[in-house]
């Protein structure tokens, strides 16, 4: 994989192109980029034909490992890889260690294994199992096994352990990766750990940067879901920690930050120098029957400004970015969710119809919102 910086803005944001995507031939992607989040291998509420309506936005797909782990043996027997199994083989497939919509419980990682929570409960994954999974799944990109549990805030000891263990896992993963015929075209990403302890973060970044990884995942920054528990990056010293990490990382490799980040957080992260995000934010907003309605470009009217004109006191907007479709005010509003939006939902359906669907609990409501 080749990461080519095209420009770096004064404030730190970078534009880049990623090419040489292994089995994908000449295809390229540009960053900043959003991976399409999946749950157990499906984009929530969307069948593949609906996903295709997203066009090139649907190309990079994010496969969190926990809910897929139970399919390990089946995939070994299947032998064509997870892309084929999920009918997503034409997509760029990235396999992450954890599911960023939730916070896994603390204290369940040991020296030789990491805990992943599947459908039937906790699964202990050591490097051997982990790499066996990668060989069965054959993703394009994958995050090396990592321990992102940094213990209580400020705890130096646990933070140090997370750094040490993650480096040890990475080295063993790299060994096996090198020997593996099947993973020849796959790229491995290293994870930066260390909790909130600045020295540990620097150590993790410095050391990981020495390894032959394709890119970096910034873990343990409390950006996991659920939605309302994601704190602004510009508070609590997070910004400083991210800066200290990025200072140690090479410019010409991509940086991933997972989690349901709202637009303000995304913009802050981009300015710091993050390149890749996931769509868990869009997913979690859908789950509470809301549509993303903030103004993206000058062509689309912000729904907020429309609604604000109608009823000032109405508590329709949970925040700046989303609008709940459960509100009765939309019962006979026959405009699209966002006027000017060109997505399938907005060009084919109305606020009134989506309101009706979520009101009576019809699945199509979620499908249209997710899209």
């Amino acid at each position: 994989m080749k990461f080519s910086l095209r420009s770096v803005s004064q404030r730190g944001g970078r534009l880049a192109t990623i090419s040489e995507l292994g089995r994908h031939g000449d295809k390229t992607v540009t960053t900043p980029m959003c991976l399409v989040f999946t749950q157990a291998g499906t984009i929530p509420h969307l069948t593949n034909d609906m996903v295709q309506k997203l066009g090139k936005h649907a190309y990079p797909v994010h496969l969190p490992l926990p809910l897929l782990l139970e399919s390990h043996e089946i995939l070994q027997k299947y032998s064509n890889g997870i892309g084929d199994f999920l009918a997503l083989k034409h997509h760029l497939l990235y396999l992450s260690v954890q599911d960023s919509t939730i916070r896994p419980p603390e204290g369940f990682n040991e020296k030789s294994f990491v805990s992943l929570w599947g459908r039937s409960g906790r699964l202990n994954v050591d490097v051997d199992k982990f790499m066996s999974v990668q060989e069965a799944f054959k993703p394009d990109w994958y995050q090396a096994l990592c321990d992102s549990d940094a213990g209580k805030v400020g705890s130096r000891k646990r933070a140090h352990k997370s750094v040490e263990r993650t480096l040890a896992y990475l080295d063993r993963c790299l060994e096996k990766h090198k020997e593996s015929e099947v993973l020849r075209h796959s790229c491995i990403f290293g994870s930066i750990e260390g909790g909130s302890v600045a020295e540990e973060r620097e150590l993790s970044a410095k050391e990981t940067a020495k390894r032959p990884v394709a890119g970096f995942v910034l873990e343990g920054l409390d950006t996991n879901g659920p939605l309302d528990s994601v704190l602004p990056l510009c508070e609590n010293g997070k910004k400083e920690i991210i800066q200290s990490i990025l200072n140690e990382l090479p410019d010409e490799k991509p940086r991933i930050l997972h989690g349901p980040l709202d637009p303000a957080n995304i913009l802050a992260a981009v300015e710091l120098g993050i390149d890749i995000f996931d769509s868990t934010y869009a997913f979690l907003v859908t789950e509470r029957n809301a549509a993303l309605t903030f103004c993206v470009s000058p062509d689309t009217e912000s729904m907020a400004s429309n609604v604000g004109k109608l009823q000032d006191s109405c508590n329709l907007q949970r925040n700046l970015y989303e609008t709940s479709l459960t509100d009765k005010i939309f019962k006979d509003d026959f405009r699209p969710l966002v006027v000017g939006c060109q997505c399938y939902t907005c060009t084919n359906h109305t606020r009134a119809y989506v309101h009706h669907l979520v009101n009576v609990g019809e699945l199509l409501g979620k499908t249209l919102l997710m899209l």
């Binding site: 929530p44 009918a87 669907l357 009101n359």
Partner: protein, 396 residues
């Protein structure tokens, strides 16, 4: 004899009649599009087919689907339909719609209901509001929803009861039909169907058939069946009705949708069917296949890398294995959508092959072939043997 003046928004063209059975293949022209019969109509109760977009439904070949007046009358309500211009516009469905009268749901879903000559009165246990659904009110709501075919409000009784209530309901259904005809405002764009009642009593059914066929309605439904009655009685009432009903008008057998029932009742002369079964069973993880059913939750599917049906052209079968579906069935919403897409396609394909077999005058062979696949050990249910024998098909 000159044909009656046709005010209706419907024409039926009989393309072929089976030379052995009572089956016929027709072209039913309705305001929004043509429908090939025999036709199966999937049920999209609340204005959507459980996760399927109108576009996906169109792609499966579906030409007509159902909405339920009781549900839609409550949410979003008739007033909203008047504002938006009908359910077609509201949900973005360009082809045909059929709405039931709301009567069946009111009686089956609501705990406290009382039927009088006026209508069905019920109190909603959740908000203690009293509501009265009269024939006039039902037609009014259905006029607002704007479906191409609307159903009369009938007095529905369970097919498992007998006694004077059955006759009372049959008589009342006739009187309510007349009130519905009187109340119906949009005869140029909406077709009002009568519903034959009379329980499992051939005398009562015959009276009802006699009376209702005197009314100049565009089509007839056979109601009051498919409610858990003995199948041996069921088929007799179906065939009695199709013997009697005029040939140049469509016959709609309500609530029938199991594949075997569709094949047999087509042989008995029915043109239209509806049922929640294929879509409901999809959500529980069961796919319909030529040999019957496939339960994707079963362990046997875990390592089965074949599609649900190798001969099925639906997007689910073209992309996915049983093994994959097994990992997500009942756990991810997409599984429900994928199986629904398959089951709808199965039903559409089944009806198409029924139609083609009738047109080629090969229906008895088709039936035999179909039944052998469903019952490989030839343990045919007694009612299917009898029903098919009554139309000259001997199951081998």
């Amino acid at each position: 004899m000159s044909a009656p003046v046709n005010h209706s928004a419907l024409t039926l063209k009989v393309l072929a009649e089976c030379s052995v059975t009572k089956a016929r293949a027709c072209q039913l022209s309705l305001p929004h599009s043509v429908v090939d019969t025999p036709v199966f109509m999937p049920v999209g109760t609340q204005g959507s087919l459980k996760g399927i977009t109108p576009e996906q439904l169109e792609n499966s070949g579906c030409q007509i689907m159902l909405g339920n007046t009781y549900h839609l009358g409550s949410n979003p309500g008739a007033e909203l339909f008047d504002k938006v211009g009908g359910l077609h516009k509201f949900m973005g469905w360009k082809r045909n719609l059929l709405t039931d009268s709301g009567g069946f749901q009111m009686v089956s879903l609501v705990a406290l209901s009382e039927v009088t000559e006026e209508g069905v009165r019920f109190s909603n246990p959740y908000d203690a509001k009293d509501m009265l659904l009269t024939p006039e009110k039902s037609i009014e709501i259905q006029n607002s929803i704007g479906a191409d075919i609307i159903m009369q409000l009938d007095d529905v009784v369970s097919s498992t009861i007998s006694g004077p209530r059955v006759e009372e309901a049959m008589g009342r259904s006739i009187r309510w039909l007349d009130r519905c005809i009187e109340a119906h405002k949009k005869t140029k764009t909406q077709n009002l169907f009568a519903i034959i009642q009379g329980g499992l009593d051939s005398r009562l059914r015959t009276i009802c058939l006699n009376e209702m066929s005197k009314r100049n309605v565009p089509g007839f439904a056979i109601g009051g069946l498919s409610g858990g009655e003995d199948k041996n009685d069921f088929w007799k009432m179906v065939t009695l009705s199709t013997d009697f009903l005029p040939k140049h008008k469509p016959r709609y057998l309500m609530g029938v949708g199991f594949p075997v029932d569709l094949v047999v009742c087509s042989a008995l002369g029915c043109d239209m069917f509806d049922c929640v079964y294929p879509t409901r069973t999809a959500r529980f993880g069961t796919a319909l296949i030529p040999t019957g059913k496939l339960d994707l939750k079963k362990k046997g599917c875990a390592e089965d890398f074949r599609p649900i049906d190798e001969n099925c052209s639906c997007s689910t079968c073209r992309q996915f294995t049983r093994a994959y579906l097994h990992t997500i069935v009942t756990k991810e919403t997409v599984a429900s959508i994928l199986l629904t897409i398959h089951n709808i396609q199965y039903q559409m394909d089944l009806m198409r092959s029924i139609k083609e077999a009738i047109i080629q005058d090969k229906y008895p062979e088709f039936v035999n072939d179909f039944m052998q696949k469903q019952f490989p050990t030839r343990n045919y249910p007694e009612w299917t043997v009898d029903a098919l024998a009554s139309v000259n098909i001997k199951l081998s």
